[in-house]
Symmetry: D2
Subunit: 394 residues, 4 copies
Amino acid sequence: MTLRYLTAGESHGPALVGILEGLPAGVPVDLDAIAHQLERRRAGHGRSPRMKFEADEFQVLAGVRHGLTIGSPVALVIHNTEWPKWTEAMAVEAPEDPEAVAQTGRGRPLTRPRPGHADLVGMQKYGYDEVRNVLERASARETATRVGLAAVARGLLDQLGISVLSHVVRIGEVAVPEDAPPPGPGEQERVDDDPVRCAEGATSERMQERIDRAKGERDTLGGVVEVVAYGVPVGLGSHVHWDRKLDGRLAQALMSIQAFKGVEVGEGFRTAEVPGSKAHDEIVASEGDYRRLTSRSGGLEGGITTGEPLRVRAAMKPLSSLTQPLRTVDVETGEEAQAITQRSDVCAVPRAGVVAEAIVALELADALLEKTGGDSLDEVRRNLEAFLGSLPRA
Amino acid sequence: MTLRYLTAGESHGPALVGILEGLPAGVPVDLDAIAHQLERRRAGHGRSPRMKFEADEFQVLAGVRHGLTIGSPVALVIHNTEWPKWTEAMAVEAPEDPEAVAQTGRGRPLTRPRPGHADLVGMQKYGYDEVRNVLERASARETATRVGLAAVARGLLDQLGISVLSHVVRIGEVAVPEDAPPPGPGEQERVDDDPVRCAEGATSERMQERIDRAKGERDTLGGVVEVVAYGVPVGLGSHVHWDRKLDGRLAQALMSIQAFKGVEVGEGFRTAEVPGSKAHDEIVASEGDYRRLTSRSGGLEGGITTGEPLRVRAAMKPLSSLTQPLRTVDVETGEEAQAITQRSDVCAVPRAGVVAEAIVALELADALLEKTGGDSLDEVRRNLEAFLGSLPRA
Amino acid sequence: MTLRYLTAGESHGPALVGILEGLPAGVPVDLDAIAHQLERRRAGHGRSPRMKFEADEFQVLAGVRHGLTIGSPVALVIHNTEWPKWTEAMAVEAPEDPEAVAQTGRGRPLTRPRPGHADLVGMQKYGYDEVRNVLERASARETATRVGLAAVARGLLDQLGISVLSHVVRIGEVAVPEDAPPPGPGEQERVDDDPVRCAEGATSERMQERIDRAKGERDTLGGVVEVVAYGVPVGLGSHVHWDRKLDGRLAQALMSIQAFKGVEVGEGFRTAEVPGSKAHDEIVASEGDYRRLTSRSGGLEGGITTGEPLRVRAAMKPLSSLTQPLRTVDVETGEEAQAITQRSDVCAVPRAGVVAEAIVALELADALLEKTGGDSLDEVRRNLEAFLGSLPRA
Amino acid sequence: MTLRYLTAGESHGPALVGILEGLPAGVPVDLDAIAHQLERRRAGHGRSPRMKFEADEFQVLAGVRHGLTIGSPVALVIHNTEWPKWTEAMAVEAPEDPEAVAQTGRGRPLTRPRPGHADLVGMQKYGYDEVRNVLERASARETATRVGLAAVARGLLDQLGISVLSHVVRIGEVAVPEDAPPPGPGEQERVDDDPVRCAEGATSERMQERIDRAKGERDTLGGVVEVVAYGVPVGLGSHVHWDRKLDGRLAQALMSIQAFKGVEVGEGFRTAEVPGSKAHDEIVASEGDYRRLTSRSGGLEGGITTGEPLRVRAAMKPLSSLTQPLRTVDVETGEEAQAITQRSDVCAVPRAGVVAEAIVALELADALLEKTGGDSLDEVRRNLEAFLGSLPRA
């Protein structure tokens, strides 16, 4: 019970809501920084026109006063600017004439579940006869809440010199070279300026071409994002119990992002292919510090941060809402049908990187607070510095 | 708080201890089945001679009466048959003459941390000046506890027709063909009979050769294991909140296994490479059921089981204790040194598959009980059958 | 992780926010019922004039569609109708001129902590130099969120025939007779009509007189409330692990209400005074059911509900904001001072009963869902009925 | 996830088992201290002869090396010295001839559930046709595990100058005077030497007489215990979220002790009877510290420790196993019957005080570690001292 959060909100409901509980007092909260992160989540080549009018109007309703956290839970509401169009179909209250609502465009039952989504299984699990109630919550729009809450948690990380950034390393078959170094601590803006948020110019162009081709083929594309965190202190997470291992916690958080199907830490699956003599990071003494000669571990050994940059990758499958829809069954008629189409993005990988980054920031903030304890930024900082100061020199 | 467990125990301590809390009453517990699972965890080509005398003598001390669970927490103790050799070095009580202990073989301070292990970071985090206290707990021997507890949880799954098996799909560069089907529900024994627990004869031979070569080179090998669960009902996990998604929970559990660096669900990272038209499982009606034409999703959509076989893969890095040790720093002298060597396995992937299987079984049992509630096997079964019976026919 | 909730919000901030996660789908949500519960929380003889303009305008922003829950987290926002007066003092953003704000009435530092409140300790814990940031969150206004969320959870209980009501059994020295029976299932309205929410007319009058006298003396009064739940099925909670015991969970929840200092189940402290022959409820068979001849246990044995009415009591201390203020220290000057005064209620016990009721409803809903599992109201009901139907007849 | 623990074990099973996870490294663990606490739990006037041969043989199997914790989970096994008598009735494995076992003394079905115990409700909840499987786990013998684990946690508290003690303040109608001061920090031994663990000589004698009389009447007695903790730093627990309030957490933990029916903090229920002017602790400055003139709050304001001694009381009902048994129903025959008798204590309040003390110690250790963070005793101490040093002087 260090840092925890709940999110709520349907894709076309009145608003998304998030509560983040457990931050110390005195952490600067910058509304522009929240807006910036929400904005980043919407960017990227290959996004549908819908994203444009999805501009996120939000309010911090609790936990922050005069620009600083006050130890209380932080509440964030992100309003749905399209809500006026959905007041009937998504009304909280029971409609007077349900039949009428069910015959309007937006209120019409959605009976052709999309493969690759929660649609069918959600319907079965929760006992529905159509999928609206499932897709509204399963939608990736929910991630806006997590990105918003993470923007607050990042205020804490910033103060302690920890920065988290992301970049796209694969879209479909197009990948950055294996030996390309990740962007450095100050390079997030440069990466964000790239239309596919790829750090490597030449690869970026090929990615964009690939997306454009997929669009022409009415197909979609997935990819892989990498999150890198700089300035992470040694000693977050623990080997003493399986659920304290930070790599496991990061893996859960990342895998829980919509459409993510794989997670790896450091070299990940590649480490499984090389011999032991090439799979680990040898330890050396350097200017009084213990350092690693390589960064294969991703900055995590035994579930604990090493003080080296943290690196995790996560794989996103292609969007399942194709403009050329997949085959499904109409649950009302039992007939073969084409799956419903909810949106028309070709590739959501660039913005998914921003979500992955947010997720990692939340987990790092949690692990940090477990290590340091403390109820105010000053206390957290003091405890962290005292710990780092106590480490024996190499 | 459905099913939860804690494990304790050091590698060379008197015993490993586990408590599994939350199982319903009336689940058959077969001590031979527990012994069998513990035995499977020790098997495999490439294991060190040490494994032979590691025969796990265990006791169930609580939660089971007359062969059935009674709703109470189940406690398992696995004794360390080598304990007599370690009574001084690992004594619970303070030694009368600490100096003397520190000069014996086993009690000697270990000051050359192994790259790729928790050794150095654990030492730093917990404030030690040598690594014994870290490696004792970080050791993969801990997984015996999880395998043992999972054997109890599998008693529940068995009763409901759910079986979980594993096989090795990669060792170093040697992998089973991408399109090779996983072993079927009854094939665990056949897989276990294979020296590297690979389901595919030709690949197995190449894997064994690869291991033998690595041994000659005094090197180690990692690999990838796949866990497949059959008979998993539709509707476990949920899309409604990130930490209810079963894929995320499986990812955490798998990534938390010692030396694991990657996890994927279904096609995983491969899904990121193919277009959307080839990445999802189209839905069809078949004899009244909704079925999928392919199994790319790994039996999980939106964090919920689909009723298709569940498939997850996890990547293990090569062991870092090489007989040809890696470079490190002696933390006592600050001099460059060769890392300590704790054991001499070449490849632990086959047995790690058994651990992965156990982990998946524990998570499935938890997700199942969340879905069904219930305090006795009868009640769990009744609720599950009623749910399945209520599903609309396709 | 069955039913969980987070609340956020400062007393004079823009709004209170709550998220309730884990309700099944299909539970009717009636906005009028929520409004009614929030209204009940504000009622009662002895309340300050402030309560009048505290009319709670709220919105359900997520988790409910067309009058029914959809399995998603439910989000509730309760707006602060006084917010316009507080936009400076409680602004989320950093003020341009902090000095100016600190000199306005509402923005002025509060440096005279009230005894009996979180004021001083909160200030010390979180590192503040005045108490505004503490009292804003520690305020009992937060309970409006819990009452609101509980109103949603009560929708589930209602459907299963479980009703939760409360009444005041003591105000100061004035208590209902020990042998007075609690109000019955249909009597909540009658109790609510009483100015002090006492079920017993004669005692109520004495309570009101006592309050009026305290008012004259510029003093405050505490008291004891009793919550009774009817229709609770046998078998909620468990004896198998300490933190599964329903009495313990109720005790935590009740003790966590602002100003509560004692909790008892059934006869509670009185049971400690009588011999064993008069402390338990003897068991008899009655029309095929096991029944108890008395109700001393409060409907809980071994941490499990017995099927008899559930009864818990909780003691509230007198409000510490007296119009005749208590002695304290001015933390700015170090001088002896009179504590700040935040409000002028004499007695908040009647409305605290409504909060206690809400708390109990939330815990019961949680314990119920642990027992039944299930993701839709139909499934919950089906599992519960099947369990009850399986109970052996006496 | 700071400090957590699971316990397992049946009253007549082979052993009790506990795992305590989350302690920092470097905490001294003294086996004699554990033995002493277990011994204290067995003492007291009014205990049955059985307690004599219940001498607890225990082993620490994990988490401690050379007298110090090592950050790993601590595992404790307490053997049942009577186990040889129970190997058949409580066998883990299915008996070859269940009929035969069911006809032996100890294996015989127990079909006459005791009022006031988990017997009947546990049987109903878990689907049994007799109560053996319930009473084995519901038994207060389980508390030995908690006392043992708490003895380890107390090692941490001791190092930080926090001591927790308990005394009996009521047995039946006999109570210590309301204004009697609690025993001081060094007085535990004196209290323990009293046959009923009462700090007040005159009252103790009356309590003993009362117990002797009850014994003559073949009746049982409950009572009230008080736990006092000295040296508790200011700032443990929090007001920011209901489940962080330390009073709530203490209430749950205490109420979860077998046979406990009431909990109060500080003056508790008495506070509900007095006016506000007499219910709070006025604040004064004293030698640079903020102090309270009285100790009505029990050292907790707003769910946070004040730095004053912590005081909680808990009420225990009389044992329900009377030698003059209560009326019940035989669940096999449906006939009226006399409840089974499991033991013959008259009053377990003195030893229950030791359990309450242990429970409080565990919660305090948890709350302390939440405040300080830290992975070694040195780090915990350093963080705590730095916090205390940062507090502004009064």
